[in-house]
Amino acid sequence: MLELSGVTTGYGRTTVVHGVDLTVPDGALTAVLGHNGAGKTTLLRAVLGLLPLRAGSVRLADEDVTALAPHKRVRRGIAYVPQGQQSFGQLSARENLQVVADAHGRAGRRRTDEALDLFPALRDLLGRQAGLLSGGQRQQLAIARALVTGPTLLVLDEPVEGIQPNVVTEIYAAISTLTGAGSLSVLLVEQHIGYAVEHAAEFAVLTSGRVAHRGQGGVPTAAAAARKALTL
């Protein structure tokens, strides 16, 4: 379980995220919605430790990880798929997975196989330089790389932004498969209401770095409530 309490963070003199409380229960999908500039990515970077907190705390499985370096949080079970289909562009697709698997020995190799089962198309591209793959392929590689760390919580930042529609379907199907198994929690950040509100157990709408609305996903009124909060 991930618990954010009073998370406040920003860049330089600007505070971008103000006192956000959020919980991602074990095995559940929690969504954060918001327009460009609402502070979604900033919030996720704070969850990972890539940005220090100015106030508040981040707890994972009852442990306070607020002061931990990002790679230590990853070792405790948080995996991160950042915005923009990021990969180690000069490494091959195989090396992108290996560089993570190296630290996990046999478990790393097993998880690599499982991640590739989720995106079978990647198997034929493993020898290619990651930077030369298409956006969709790079995003599948990014999710696979995150899964190789053996996470209990997967943090996804706009995973289908700028991706061709057929791959969007594949990525959402993969997220559903992962959450369906029940052992993985997902924190999904999106600009669009669709999948996030339909599948999330709970969702929060972020406006100007503050939670403007909280709701239950998957119910008939959820989309309308989320849309209303987003237009405020």
Binding site: L50, P70, H71, F88, G89, E95, V99, D102, G135
Partner: protein, 293 residues
């Protein structure tokens, strides 16, 4: 025959430049740190050879011992510099330049205090004295040894970067520090190891320089500018480019020197590099990607 002799002289000079530049291709090329004390790590490697020869006596054994120990001494100095100063200024290249230049001056003075201002000599082993005759051309054994050592170092570094977990980690951190951290890779630990290896290679370069001349506190300053030129002209972060650029610089210097003088040759080499970088600012070898990351 003259041309072949110049060709060998050029490749020989190129291999010295390559050894000096190889470590920089990691610390400057891959990590972006302008380390002006790199030359002094070479000097430390050279003095390591001198000290070991004083202890061991036998020139052959001491050379073979000095190569790994020079690597360790250079590496440890690099590690110390990284841990105390450089890691505080990763996003401030100009500050790093000034600070490491200061460190270079301090290290030179330390060498002067410990070993004295006059140069000292390291004896070359008997099996490296004389020359190998090929078709009437005498190729000095020391030069052949340095060429072979440069090849071994390049192959070892390329293999280490390409085919080992550590190499993958180094390349991942270099390309995207945040993504590496967010993938569970400790960028601090990786930085330290990278700096250790890069500085250690400077130590090895220093040991080999003892085969070509005497050792003094300012030994490294003769090579640092050329080494940076090699890395920049080769394409930052590209070992292949570093190898080609080192050899090209060595050959140019040798051929220009043959037809003019050493000073004119140096000027001509600088002009050639400036002209080349005007045409191709990214250096000889650059990497294509579809994404920024």
């Amino acid at each position: 025959m003259d041309i072949i002799a110049q060709l060998f002289a050029g490749l020989s000079l190129g291999s010295v430049l390559l050894l000096a530049a190889l470590g920089l291709s990691l610390t400057f090329g891959q990590m972006g740190v302008i380390n002006m004390a790199h030359g002094e790590f070479m000097m430390a490697g050279a003095y390591t050879a001198f000290v070991i020869q004083g202890v061991v006596g036998d020139a052959g054994v001491s050379l073979l011992l000095a190569l790994p120990l020079g690597f360790v001494v250079g590496g440890l100095l690099g590690l110390l510099l990284e841990a105390t100063l450089i890691h505080r200024m990763y996003r401030r290249p100009l500050d790093t330049l000034l600070v490491t230049w200061g460190v270079a001056l301090v290290l030179q003075q330390v060498a002067r205090d410990v070993f004295g201002a006059p140069n000292v000599d390291v004896r070359a082993p008997a099996w490296l004295s004389g020359a190998v005759e090929i078709g009437g051309l005498a190729l000095p054994r020391t030069r052949l040894f340095i060429l072979a050592l440069a090849i071994v170092c390049v192959v070892a570094l390329a293999l280490a970067l390409r085919a080992t977990p550590l190499g993958r980690r180094i390349r991942a951190v270099v390309q995207n520090r945040d993504l590496a951290e967010a993938s569970g890779i400790s960028s601090r630990a990786t930085d330290r190891v990278t700096f250790f290896i890069g500085s250690g290679l400077a130590g090895i370069a220093g040991v080999t320089l003892t085969l070509l001349g005497s050792v003094g506190p300012t030994l490294g300053t003769n090579y640092i500018v050329d080494a940076f030129l090699v890395v920049v002209a080769g394409g930052i972060g590209q070992i292949k480019g570093t190898v080609i650029a080192a050899m090209a610089l060595g050959l140019m210097q040798a051929f220009f020197e043959y037809s003019t003088t050493a000073s004119v040759a140096k000027v001509l080499v600088f002009v050639a590099i400036v002209a080349f970088l005007q045409l191709r600012p990214q250096g000889l070898v650059s990497v294509r990607t579809r994404s920024l990351a």
